[in-house]
């Protein structure tokens, strides 16, 4: 098969070593290894099956938000209401449970609350398409947090540890593997497969790259946006469940700043905020890089303020790297010499 003018267009992807090695994920793997070496040097107990899994428990509960956040960023949008959604969902869980409902029902109510919060974002943003997601979700962030504070004032709602299965969601293990880790692994795999192997995933990339072209290609742009915002709410509620399970109680001020952590993890993973870029494995790697780094710094008792400085700087440096034109820097040096 060839064109009329005899040209053959290849359907084989050209493979270039340089390109493959310069991939963002390769870079992330290197950082990941570096962080682990650092941690192993700090603590002799770190490099063990138990030590590593214990470390994951310190950050996995909030990492459930990163999964849908990767989708939101892939669309070129942002959702900063997730932290407040976690708080509101957790409060609803506690209130339902302490009102005498069985824990199973309370969990369902928690998930429903999160989904409704997400759906509200989605509804506003798809019905009023000219609104900026940053502003709308800033509004709902304040709204959700406000409702949570009205519901619980400054009280805690607790007693979750009475229900063994619920406590085990966070604390339980299958052999050496925490249950939360297993659930996270399954969710991450599903999210990854959806992003890279399904028509839904391809359409997300299309919308993020050029929403207008996506519309003219017959893609239900608004429907997909709505679904993604709703899922983001649902998974904020999942985080709320694990958080409540871990702490045994809930307050209205929990999970503040989670939105920024989730966004920084996804962005570090290469899913840039301008949409249509990045791969899912990158986001997963970034979760573990930032998580392990924080854990390692905690081991040597670095003050949390200093930890913020270190992580902030790391994030800035890391996202700057692809924008540095290394070739040009070298060239300038040559001409100077």
């Amino acid at each position: 098969m060839a064109t009329k003018s005899g040209r053959v267009i290849s359907a084989e992807k050209p493979f270039r070593w340089k390109q493959a090695l310069l991939k963002w994920e390769v870079f992330l793997v290197i950082i990941f290894i570096a962080v682990n070496i650092m941690n192993a040097c700090i603590s002799p107990y770190y490099m063990s099956v138990n030590g590593l899994f214990t470390a994951t428990s310190s950050f996995l509960e909030k990492s459930f938000i990163v999964l849908p956040m990767a989708y939101v960023l892939l669309l070129g949008e942002i959702d900063i209401s997730v932290g407040a959604t976690v708080a509101l969902s957790a409060c609803m869980l506690g209130i339902s449970f302490n009102a005498g409902m069985p824990m199973g029902a309370a969990v369902l109510i928690c998930l429903l609350t999160g989904s409704l919060c997400g759906a509200l974002n989605g509804l506003i943003l798809t019905k009023f398409q000219e609104l900026a997601p940053m502003i709308v979700t800033l509004g709902t962030q304040i709204l959700f947090r406000g409702i949570a504070e009205i519901l619980l004032t400054d009280q805690a709602t607790g007693g979750f540890t009475k229900v063994a299965w619920f406590k085990n969601l966070y604390w339980g293990k299958v052999g050496p593997v925490p249950i939360m880790f297993l659930i996270f692994a399954v969710c991450a795999a599903v999210f990854g497969v959806i992003m890279h192997c399904t028509t839904f995933g391809r359409r997300m990339y299309a919308i993020g790259s050029n929403p207008l072209a996506a519309k003219y290609s017959g893609i239900h742009v608004q429907k997909i946006r709505f679904i993604i915002y709703t899922i983001t709410g649902t998974f904020s509620a999942v985080t709320a469940i694990f958080l409540a399970s871990g702490m045994g109680s809930a307050r209205s001020n929990i999970a503040s700043g989670y939105e920024l952590e989730a966004i920084s993890m996804a962005v570090l993973g290469g899913i840039l905020t301008d949409g249509g870029k990045g791969n899912f494995p990158g986001a997963i790697l970034a979760i573990f890089i930032l998580g392990f780094l924080r854990y390692g710094l905690g081991l040597v008792n670095v003050a949390s303020q200093l930890m913020m400085v270190i992580i902030g700087l790391l994030l800035i440096v890391v996202v700057m790297v692809p924008n540095l034109n290394l070739g040009r820097i070298f060239k300038k040096k040559e001409t100077k010499a």
Binding site: M1, A2, T3, K4, S5, R7, V8, I9, S10, A11, E12, K13, P14, C197, T198, T199, F200, G201, R202, R203, A206, S209, N210, L212, A213, A214, K215, Y216, S217, G218, I219, H220, G276
Partner: protein, 500 residues
């Protein structure tokens, strides 16, 4: 002093991997309008950027009034009296006309902008150009033609002696183009020299005394406009002879595929009716702003309609969204292929299969292998100039991008193809190829609706021509009966009536 105000010798410009200009020459006489022609990718735009100091040439010399010059940046070129008006007007839409004119060289006294003086001078320049708007109007509220006039005023405000226009008429209507011709003549009479790039032969005949042709980054020649034939010029540009620009095949028309009756949308178009048969090419023409694009966007489901009926194969249908239209077999090649048709960051393969990923895989999962095979076949069918299907769409020329969009709608099982300005911004060689593809599609039984503002294209390719004016259909002409004058009369029917 030299006979030439501007002379370039042996200019070579190399971008990583490509020679964008290869030893080209150019001479501009004082008070001359000089056309620069060539296919897309021939190096014209790069050449302009060398003159205006945006790019620095690796080799070659440039002389201004006989003196050798060496521009370090656009600022140097501006100070030397060279101004360029680019294809896409690069204006600040939220600022006033005067602010746009004086952007970068505002009238300042002790660090404070002198608004009154600036507005007055801007109005003076606009009057000179016969403009029908004011210096204090907002730029974004103006039409493309008016914005271009602002750019010209800007050039004048900088006392430019050499004015470069890159495709100035591409987005203009017939009447607006006339206005531009008039202004260009006036500038020339006042002693300015003008270089302009255009794909329209009409521009060249109307304005230029000489024409320089580039091809594949090389200088081909400079000719006196009244001494070179159309055919020779095309041969010079394309490097081969194009015997028949409009290869319209004789096709036996089939059954009616699409009919619209009294389609209306408040504020855009009213009571639009037409039909198209299988194998037929229906030309839809009119001046820019006549509502043609809005009508086809509505049929494609991208916009809603208020009243009227749409029939596909004699059955009445409701089209509410793009998905409805695609399912009914109606496809649209949008006018703005860079924003609406393609994802420029993506490879051409993924672009081609985007609307039909479910067809190659399943409802849920994609099938990359099947997609690649299909994309390869379709890209070859329309003869895209690409090495692999992973070449980014942004790396292709306008004509080849258009071919990719055609391949993309061929991926769907369609009956009706609507093509909105299919050859806009496409060079002569690729134009002929796109016409050939259209002819073949008609032969295969597609019903084609082609929107175009270019008379030769409408007359050369259509079986029937529907003319619109200010949102209404003002007439329908058969192939053979239609003439340029008659179409124009219908296209301006409303304003003619108003004038009477």
């Amino acid at each position: 002093m030299s006979e030439y105000v501007l002379e370039l010798k042996g200019i070579t410009k190399i971008f990583p991997g490509v020679k964008a200009l290869d030893g080209v020459h150019f001479q501009l006489k004082a008070g001359e309008i000089h056309a620069l022609m060539g296919e897309n990718g021939a190096g014209k735009s790069t050449f302009i950027k060398v003159i205006t100091g945006v790019h620095k040439a690796e080799e070659g010399e440039m002389f201004l009034n006989g003196k050798k010059v060496n521009f370090r940046g656009p600022r140097d070129a501006q100070e030397a009296g060279i101004a360029a008006i680019y294809q896409h007007v690069t204006a600040y839409p939220h600022l006033t006309v005067a602010e746009n004119i004086f952007m970068g060289h505002e009238k300042v006294k002790h660090g404070i902008i002198q608004w009154k003086a600036m507005n007055e001078e801007a109005n003076g320049l606009l009057r000179e150009l016969n403009a029908d708007f004011n210096a204090t109007d907002e730029m974004g509220a103006l039409s493309v033609a008016q914005q271009q006039m602002v750019e010209i005023a800007k050039a004048l405000s900088m006392k430019a002696r050499i004015i470069i226009m890159d495709e100035p008429t591409a987005a203009l209507t017939k009447r607006e183009s006339e206005e531009l011709y008039r202004i260009a003549e006036k500038l020339r009479e006042e002693g300015a020299s003008i270089i302009f790039i255009s794909h329209r032969f009409e521009d060249m005949y109307r304005l230029a005394t000489r024409v320089t042709v580039f091809r594949d980054s090389k200088y081909i020649g400079t000719y006196e406009v009244d001494q070179i034939s159309n055919g020779d010029l095309i041969t010079a540009m394309v490097g081969r002879e194009i015997t028949d620009l409009f290869p319209k095949p004789e096709v036996k028309l089939g059954k009616e595929v699409l009919r619209v009756e009294n389609l209306s949308r408040q504020g855009y178009f009213k009571n639009v009716s037409f039909s198209v048969k299988s194998g037929e090419i229906l030309g839809l023409t009119g001046l820019v702003g006549a509502g043609r694009t809005e009508v086809v966007q509505t049929i494609f489901g991208a916009e809603r309609y208020d009243s009227g009926k749409i029939f596909v194969e004699e059955k009445e249908v409701r089209i509410r969204k793009v998905q409805d239209a695609l399912r009914l077999g109606i496809g649209l090649l949008t006018e703005d292929r860079q924003h609406q048709g393609l994802i420029l960051d993506w490879g051409i393969g993924r672009n081609i299969t985007l609307s039909e990923i479910e067809k190659y895989g399943s409802k849920i999962f994609t099938n990359e292998k099947a997609e690649r095979e299909a994309a390869k076949k379709l890209a070859e069918e329309v003869d895209t100039k690409a090495v692999t299907i992973f070449d980014k769409a942004s790396s292709l020329s306008g004509g080849n991008q258009q071919k990719v969009v055609v391949a993309k709608i061929l991926a769907s099982d369609l009956k009706v193809l609507i093509m909105d300005e299919p050859t806009k911004g496409v060079d002569v060689g690729a134009k002929a190829e796109i016409y050939a593809i259209m002819g073949e599609l008609a032969k295969k039984g597609y019903a084609i609706i082609m929107i175009s503002s270019e008379m030769p294209e409408i007359l050369g390719m259509s079986d029937r021509i529907t003319v619109m004016c200010e949102g209404r259909v003002t007439g329908e002409l058969k192939r053979g009966e239609a003439t340029q004058e008659e179409i124009l009369k219908l296209a301006m029917a409303k304003s003619l009536k108003a004038a009477q």
